[in-house]
Amino acid sequence: MSQRETSAILEISISILFVVLAAALFVDSLDLPESLREPLGSSSVPQVVCLLVIGFSVALIFRSARIVVKERARRATNASASSPQAPLFRKRLDLAAKVFVGATIYVALMQTRLLPSELLTPLFLGSSIIMLTEFRRSALLPAIVVAIVIGLGTNYLFTDFFYIDLP
């Protein structure tokens, strides 16, 4: 599959998500009462915006679908076409996903208040840096130092300097 085709399929998927989101908001806005005092009321503008989102997303879906069809037709007729150029470096979607999951766990644990943020913040920082350096031994000590200094330092900054109660 060519990169163009992959991008087009991704565009279709994400545009469908936008359509579903806008449709859900549109349906929710139907319950809003009409206004007696002004011409538009609370629902009109959100409904128009939802319809615009749906309209633009559908246009994007059609455009991307045409690209997919064209690319598949080209692949079928041009089987000996040169393979796409290999990227210069590896894309690390896995690392991004791991760090994001780590951030989600960090926020979820703060919400439960099982552990204080003074402990959670350095843990999050340290684990994220270690994951991103792929457990290299040379990076372990700097990761721990940075996690403790910046983690505890940030907590101090917010609680004792800005007087914000962190979870």
Binding site: L25, P39, S42, C50, L60, F100, L132, I164, P167
Partner: protein, 502 residues
């Protein structure tokens, strides 16, 4: 005049001047680091300014960061061939080749001086136009504001890189994201699905932190294995000679004026300004073939314009409360956070606020010049901070920063959620800038439209009969039609080219 002198005098006192120094320095450093941008820095700093003693100091810090960050992008553009900020994209074309052939100091010197001159010229426009425009803007009614917001959205959708449909989709998605919560006109809850936390809607800062910062963090982690070659910075040749000044005089003034006027157009920022100025310089040059080979005219035009857009973009911000660029949209968030209502009446109710912004812009330009000339070699070393260490720290600041404003866990989830949303948008090349402009201005557009309709008993006739509103509407329609036509032509040309190649 009194308010201007008072604001300038205040900035030159020790504490405010320290904020100006700090803001400019942080802006330069962050602007120089690829992966970080001024919008990220300012978005992360805004929640912290809530706890500052004076909102004047907060504005001084943020505007100084704005000036510093646009200027700082020059360093990585020249030494790494990676623009530190989107505004420095054009600088890479000539800055890096000049540095590669052994003249990094000269390349940096041209860029720094051009940035300073661009900033000063745009400041002259800012100080001279703002009071007059503010007086004029006071006469605006709801129809003028509504059509101006629509024009800003269309302009940014049409002039941002990429597809027009994607730009418009981004804008309306931003508008949609701002709608859940309390209806500003009736006080009724809407689009909350019965979720209590949504009663106050999505707060601006967590959304900005998510869309601008969290999404970028994810993007840079994905590209963590990309390798960059750093050219050693040097101070040799950093000062322009008299001959250089004479040669570049016309280019400097022209590029600064282009940048200023591009900046004044609502919603458009420094990157478009530098592209337009670079293109103009190339088209008017006797040696256009030299552009892209390390030609000083290219560096000067790009850097003068991108710094000039700052002053230009501040004009609609201080006079009408309309953001001239995405960073100005964040500054609007900062003003609202400090209970200041952006708009023309600010010149009447609290004139020291707009004049603080105006004076800081000028003083920060001087500070930027001195700092960059003196310390560019040391700043260049900071650029190589490993992504693995930097990104988790930034993510942590986003999460805690989102919480700090209202002490709500919900805001942390909003930041993470919009981070994923922004990331998905960028994956399919939907620009983020129209989303932010749409999010910030949707409330204003809706309330002005509804006020206008109430005043005109439901008739939209004033849209066409009021001259200013009709002009804004005409510009919007023209830009919409022209942009779709231009895209259709480009698509057709590409299809023909592919057909010929096959």
């Amino acid at each position: 005049m009194d308010a201007f002198l008072s604001a300038t005098g205040h900035i030159l006192t020790p504490m405010p001047f320290m904020w100006c120094l700090l803001g400019t320095a942080l802006g330069i450093v962050v602007g120089a680091i690829p992966g970080l941008s001024g919008s990220m820095l300012i978005t992360m700093t805004v929640p912290l300014t809530f706890f500052m003693a004076s909102y004047y100091d907060a504005l001084i810090l943020l505007v100084a960061m704005y000036v510093g960050s646009v200027s700082g992008g020059l360093i990585s553009a020249t030494l790494l061939r990676m623009p530190g900020t989107p505004a420095s994209i054009m600088t890479t074309l000539d800055g890096y080749p000049m540095a590669q052939r052994g003249e990094p100091g000269r390349a940096l010197g041209f860029g720094i001086m051009a940035s300073f001159v661009g900033g000063v010229i745009s400041w002259i426009f800012l100080i001279s136009l703002s009071p007059t425009l503010a007086d004029w803007a006071v006469t605006f009614g709801p129809w003028e504001y509504f059509t101006m917001v629509m024009m800003a959205l269309v302009l940014i959708a049409s002039l941002t890189q990429g597809s027009m449909i994607k730009g418009l989709l981004s804008g309306v998605l931003g508008m949609l994201a701002s709608m859940p919560g309390v209806d500003p006109s009736t006080g009724m809850l809407r689009l909350t699905f019965g979720i209590d936390e949504w009663a106050n809607g999505f707060t601006l800062l967590p959304v900005l932190l998510g869309v601008f910062v969290v999404s970028q963090v994810l993007k840079y982690i994905i590209n963590i294995e990309s390798k960059v070659e750093l050219i050693e910075a040097s101070n040799r040749g950093i000062f322009m000679t008299l001959k250089d000044w004479k040669r570049q005089a016309v280019n400097l003034v022209r590029s600064s004026i282009i940048g200023t006027w591009i900046g004044i157009l609502p919603g458009i920022g420094a990157s478009i300004g530098s592209i337009c100025a670079y293109t103009a310089a190339k088209n008017m040059s006797r040696t256009p073939e030299k552009f892209g080979t390390g030609f000083e005219d290219g560096i000067v035009s790009a850097e003068a314009a991108n710094n000039a857009t700052i002053g230009g973009a501040l004009v609609p911000l201080v006079t009408m409360g309309i953001p001239g660029s995405v960073i100005d949209a964040i500054l609007i968030g900062a003003l609202l956070l400090h209970n200041l209502q952006p708009g023309p009446l600010l010149f009447v109710t609290d004139p020291e606020v707009p004049y603080t912004i105006i004076s800081t812009h000028f003083i920060a330009n001087i500070v930027m010049l001195v700092m960059m000339l003196a310390s560019v070699r040391w700043i260049a070393r900071i650029m190589t901070v490993p992504t693995a260490f930097l990104m988790p720290v930034i993510l942590m600041f986003c999460i805690i920063g989102s919480f700090s404003l209202q002490n709500r866990m919900f805001d942390m989830w909003v930041a993470l959620g919009f981070g994923v949303f922004g990331f998905l948008m960028e994956r399919i090349r939907i620009p983020l800038a129209p989303f932010v402009i749409g999010f910030i201005l949707a409330g204003l557009a809706e309330s002005e439209l509804r006020s206008g309709l109430m005043a005109s008993a439901g008739s939209i006739e004033p849209l066409f009969t009021r001259p200013i509103a009709a002009t804004f509407l005409a510009v919007s329609v023209f830009m919409l039609v022209w942009s779709f036509w231009r895209e259709w032509r480009q698509g057709r040309a590409q299809t023909l080219a592919r057909g010929e190649a096959a």
